[in-house]
Symmetry: C2
Subunit: 372 residues, 2 copies
């Protein structure tokens, strides 16, 4: 196979920022082979109003007219059930993103993942409006040097750190699903075998005829790297951090499985190079948007799973989000084409330059659009 | 207590490099409060000849006349038992450093830690000459993306990665001690509870009247940081990488315990700033030399263990290495003095600048020398 039709592709976890960065990266959604993009709300300040989300979408649409933008609110105390009802009825948002406070870029306004109960009225509103809850599934670290918490070194056996922050979050996912069995939830950017196992377990308990309520996205970069590749390579630093070889293997198995509750969300998160290459406080995020589908295809190819690629990058996401045809602004289909593809070392110019994942390395596939 | 006499201090794991870097950092041994410095041989090429080690020591001594330099060979196939005998008889070296190939800065010439048997004739020569074997106790990673090993993702349950590389090495330490019960061995820069437990176990099996054969050094920076503090902070990246809160707690307990088989080895490893702040291939190493004792004192103070500080930074090292008085070139004693100490953000000038650990932060102790 040297040409594979992947249909109307989707990336269900996309960071586009604002201003010059937005202008730079928004067109790369389509260049990277993605038709439908699910947009994260962690701007400064976070997206929590109908006015802001409508305006933001308008700006994005102008930058990339053929891209279908699905928009989100940022879960915070600024939201009310009434606002959620209204936003849903207007079709302004498709979901709400939940960030635990302090775990990643612009998550300061996030929630305490040890106790979601204050947000239960919001979740009820989401459930009745059939909005999706997108979870950044990490608990905040407890013992890092930064806050000198280690000077009180009690409870180290229970410590939460970057390596177990996701697995420690999973009981909260299970409880949310139990408390809101009809709320559709996505565990975003899974990085551990434990997360995959939890999503499998929840789906195994579902009756086959029932719709999927809990799904997971998997990024491109987490199919490649482990903690070894983050150590000493700030370009590969993101949250959740890449974990161990057995975790990566579980992610590869899940993404290539064809199972309908695993689909692509790149978590492509651009930062200007000077915020990635610095002595401390390196920004968390890996930029993969401009070759999103090609990165994924490379892995599926290596594992002889290209037959399942369309499920992962197109069908499963459209299925879970139940996206009606009329909501898709352009029905061009993506063709994956065998051919050498050298990843640029930088995109952008001047101050606003971004280094893509695996700069200068070769991929074996490119993409082109077939008009429909 | 606002002044504490720490006697003739020692740092049993010091990287001084060559050329301009050597000129910059060698004087900081004494400035940082260290009298005896045990020097690592990972130059380019590695130190494996008597001529080189004698010349290197001469250069260092000229740069810091009051410092006692203890010198080492680099374990490699360039060494022969005859050379080891000769170097020992001349007093040219005090020990030999063993680097597993490929795990850290300039370790390319190192050995395969899965099979030390080729080096047994060297260890026999070391044992009969009472030289110390200094182990970098890590196994090389097996599944990092760099070498695309993951494309064959077999045996991931047995994978070695930066988080378990030290604990996976410990059986090799145990076997070496069993095969060479009279060889003095130091497990350098311990970073895990597992390593501390192994050193404790080996010493628990020793008859109290017998001399210590297996000891461990602990760095300053590993008493502060965990993997969370390395993620996103390349200045804190070193090998072995900082681990988890429970590991750090074990290191703090061991170092402050006063037990004679735990002593200070800073592993201060200077790199020019541009090799630490880059997009990939950040050099492994944390520079702590210019405040070596003050970093340690801060931790002992916070844990109310200043009474044991002299053991950790002076007595235990001199005891294990059995350093005769006449070998110490200067008998000045170090006085730890309570007082604000702001860590410089950079040392050096021009291209050759180094960023110390915790740049710009405050410590509560300074040091001064009392002439003897």
């Amino acid at each position: 196979m040297s040409r594979i039709n992947l249909g109307v592709t989707g990336d269900y976890h996309v960071h586009l920022r604002e201003g010059k960065m937005m202008e730079l990266v928004t067109p790369t959604i389509r260049e990277g082979g993605v038709s439908i993009a699910y947009i994260m709300p962690n701007l400064t300040p976070p997206v929590t109003t109908i006015e802001k989300v409508v305006d933001y979408k308008k700006q994005l649409q102008a930058l990339s007219p053929k891209t279908t933008f699905l928009m989100t609110f940022y879960l915070s105390r600024d939201l009310t059930p009434e606002l959620v009802d209204k936003a849903a009825k207007l079709g302004a948002i498709d979901g709400i993103k939940c960030y635990p406070a302090g775990v990643t870029t612009n998550s300061q306004a996030g929630v305490d993942p040890n106790d979601f109960s204050d947000f239960y009225p919001i979740f009820e509103a989401m459930e009745r409006n059939d909005l999706v809850l997108n979870l950044h599934g990490e608990k905040p670290s407890t013992h890092n040097d930064h806050d000198h918490a280690h000077l009180d070194d009690t409870n180290v056996d229970e410590a939460i750190h970057v390596m177990n922050a996701e697995s420690k979050f999973l009981p909260a996912l299970e409880k949310l699903h139990k408390d809101f069995p009809n709320l559709r939830i996505v565990l975003e950017h899974c990085t551990t075998k434990a997360a995959i196992d939890m999503v499998e377990k929840i789906n195994a308990e579902r009756k086959p005829e029932d719709p999927i309520k809990v799904a997971a996205t998997i990024t491109a970069h987490h199919l490649y790297i482990t903690i070894d590749d983050v150590a000493g390579n700030p370009i590969n630093f993101c949250k959740p951090i890449a974990k161990l070889p057995l975790d990566r293997q579980a992610l590869i198995k899940a993404s290539t499985s064809g199972k309908p509750y695993f689909f692509f969300g790149s978590d492509s998160a651009p930062h200007i190079l000077s915020n990635k290459v610095r002595n401390e406080g390196v920004c968390a995020g890996v930029y993969t948007q401009n070759n999103a589908i090609a990165y994924i295809a490379e892995i599926f190819d290596k594992y002889n799973k290209l037959d399942n690629l369309k499920k992962f990058v197109s069908d499963n996401g459209i299925g879970f989000y139940a996206i009606p045809k009329e909501k898709i602004v352009n029905h061009d289909e993506l063709i994956l084409v065998k051919g050498e593809n050298i990843i640029p070392t930088l995109i952008g110019e001047g101050e606003c330059v971004v280094q893509p994942f695996k700069p200068g390395q070769k991929l074996s596939w490119t993409v082109e659009w077939e008009s429909k």
